[in-house]
Amino acid sequence: MTSNKTTKQPGTTRRGALKTLAAGAAASTLPLWARYAGAQTAEPIRVGFQMHRTGIGAAYGRWYGRTTEAAARLINEAGGINGRPLEIVVEDDGTDPKRGAEVVEKFATQHKCDVGFGTLFSHVVNGSAPRAGELKLPYFIVSEGHQLASGGLNRYTLQPGMTDVKSQVQAMAPFVASNLGKKVTMIFPDYAFGHDHRDYFSEAIEAQGGEVVAKLAIPPTETSFTKYFPKIPRETEVIYHVMVGPAVLTFVKEMGEFFGPSRPELFGFIDSLEAVDITSPGLEFLDGSHFWEGMPRYAQPDQSPYDKFYREQVGVDANGASLNDSRDVSTYAHMFGCWETLYIIKAGMEAANYQGPKDRQALIEAVEAMTDMPHSNEHPQGAKIFNGKTHQGFGPQYISKLEGGMLKVQHTTSIEDTFYPDEVDYTTQSF
């Protein structure tokens, strides 16, 4: 192929032009990082964000991403962490436990991240956290699972920005027993998160003089539900449902078709309807039913200025949908956890004067030493109390009623309602 030989052109070449362009692009970012020149190093602090970008958690992942982005932008605008810019390194884990562990490994070894952050689905947490412990990577989860506070994970794993299922259901049970009914049938997904609900809610409702009359475990990949409903006993006064995944709308619709006009009371976890428009066809059936919300999706009449600020920054309207597309509904009851956790990482790094991976232990100890976190722009969901021994944060919970196509808060629990005795003391474990 001799005809392919070309002589080198003098003057402008494509490669040369590209080089110049790249240099120009780098130069244009100069003022941004030049700001941090006062710190000992201008290297960014890298937070590895383990994102459910694909797989069954994708709708959550997208909003966890947007919330994280907004918080990181604000932190950088305010001068970064310890004078250094914050960089979010995103890796997709496919909502898969095995890939979760690989992502953690990539954060620690390949991206040289300072901490890992952002995992939601409890089975992925269970798959990933042990690897974070082995690699000694501080790992801030935004899950809901109780496995951390029960002592099942390790000292490197923390959940300061999100409350766990055990505390949530314990705070809900008195409301359910006194307002809705005492004979409860539970419908939950058949994996770790659902089992937490089954175990802790049964306990909590019995403490209120109630009783769980039936427990329906549904495989997480199920797509049709009518066949489960005949197992609901006639005496049921309340159905407690906490379904997740893409088929939840079908679940609700088929439950409506099964009961027709004579349904028992319903109490659901909003997890069933996160990222779903409440006014979708088929959901009329839920009108008048009650929901747990981690944070009220619809701006309430007594909305705090912090909630208002948070909504504006993330780009969410008063109905909990994206400002750009009213049909793009957020996972509002959960995603605040990313925002708050990122601010806790910042506060921990500042308290520990964090300089690099060698200070990881100091960072964990600094977070463990935290207790009160006041209701503020950094904690828009409400005040939090962090328990350094169990590595778990505690906060208020909301019970809302679905009326006229929107969720109205009926009851807000106190933080104390969510406390339970410690089951582990991670501070006694060695690093």
Binding site: G55, I56, R62, P219, S224, F259, A275
Partner: protein
């Protein structure tokens, strides 16, 4: 719930499942029957049909029935066209070699799935059924006052679910007429029997292949448009139908249309009844075990005619 109404509910649910299975499996069975191609991307054609149904329904105003009818026309055409294109640009290039077509269709599966995620997004979105009335069903008993009709708690179905059962029957009859009574069906059967001989007799085998693959995709999409009002459109929804279609097609006999129908009814009804009376998990275990037994003792399937 009493035994009688319980059994009736279970059978109704089973019949709906059977209809859904038949609708999803028929395209896969057709493609394998004529082309001997195992189309792993079949579930994604199903998913595309459902997503298109949502897209059409949300862009066509007016009553839900209008959007549904438009979707019923557009989605199979669009997906069928895409499938035919995939046949001409990909499968033809690998000469329909069995191993390579499997790998190629796995590739198509991921491309379709991820493009949908990037454009349509990760949410599950509902499609409103054109009509959907809850029908409470009566049951009878001989009590103290003799013969009585009463309305048991929870014994109900919806008009749309009954429509899905009817539509599945209509689609199956349509495919049968197409295969057995039309010229294009004749060409397909000739190609199925002996590809070389068909070629020698002047049958444009390549065009028949593209048509069949397109038809398989279109049938998947048609099934999806019919089924999606009872579920939701989601980018991962193709996985289940693919697995179930394979189960049905293996039990019924790859490429046998009556076998596909019989297996769909068998699996659907047993799934409905076993999952209502015992557990849904047991129903899935039994279905999978049946596949294993069929593969061991009757590899050609219940209705299959063996290797030619």
């Amino acid at each position: 719930m009493d035994f009688g109404p319980y059994l009736m509910l279970a059978s109704l649910e089973g019949a709906v499942t059977a209809a859904v299975l038949a609708l999803t499996a028929i395209g896969l069975s057709l493609v394998f029957g004529v082309m001997r191609v195992v189309n792993v991307a079949h579930g994604e054609f199903f998913m595309l049909g459902a997503v298109l149904a949502w897209w059409v329904a949300s862009h066509v105003g007016g009553p839900p029935a209008l959007g549904f009818i438009v979707a019923l026309a557009i989605a199979p055409l669009a997906v069928g066209g895409l499938a035919a294109l995939a046949d001409m640009t990909v499968l033809k290039r690998v000469n329909y070699d069995p191993e390579r077509t499997i790998v190629a269709t796995i590739g198509i599966l991921y491309i379709l799935q991820q493009v949908t995620l990037m454009t349509y997004g990760p949410e599950a979105r509902p499609v409103e059924p054109p009509f959907n009335t809850r029908l409470a069903l009566p049951w009878f008993e001989w009590g103290e006052n003799g013969f009585q009709i009463y309305w048991p708690w929870g014994l109900s179905t919806t008009s749309y679910k009954l429509f899905v059962i009817g539509a599945a029957a209509a689609v199956l009859i349509g495919v049968w007429i197409l295969m057995a009574r039309t010229r294009i069906g004749l060409l397909m059967r000739a190609t199925q029997l002996d590809r070389e001989m068909a070629l020698a007799f002047g049958i444009p085998v390549e065009r028949v292949y593209a048509t069949v693959f397109g038809l398989g995709g279109a049938l998947a999409a048609l099934g999806a448009v019919l089924i999606v009002p009872t579920q939701q459109a989601h980018y991962l929804m193709g996985g289940d139908p693919l697995l179930l279609s394979f189960i049905v097609v293996i039990i019924g006999g790859l490429g046998s249309l009556p076998g596909t129908v019989a297996a769909a009814i068998l699996i659907g009804l047993s799934d409905g009844i076993i999952s209502v009376f015992f557990s849904p998990m047991l129903a899935k275990i039994l279905a999978t075990m049946l596949v294993a037994l069929v593969l061991v003792f009757r590899p050609q399937g219940l209705f299959g005619s063996g290797e030619k």
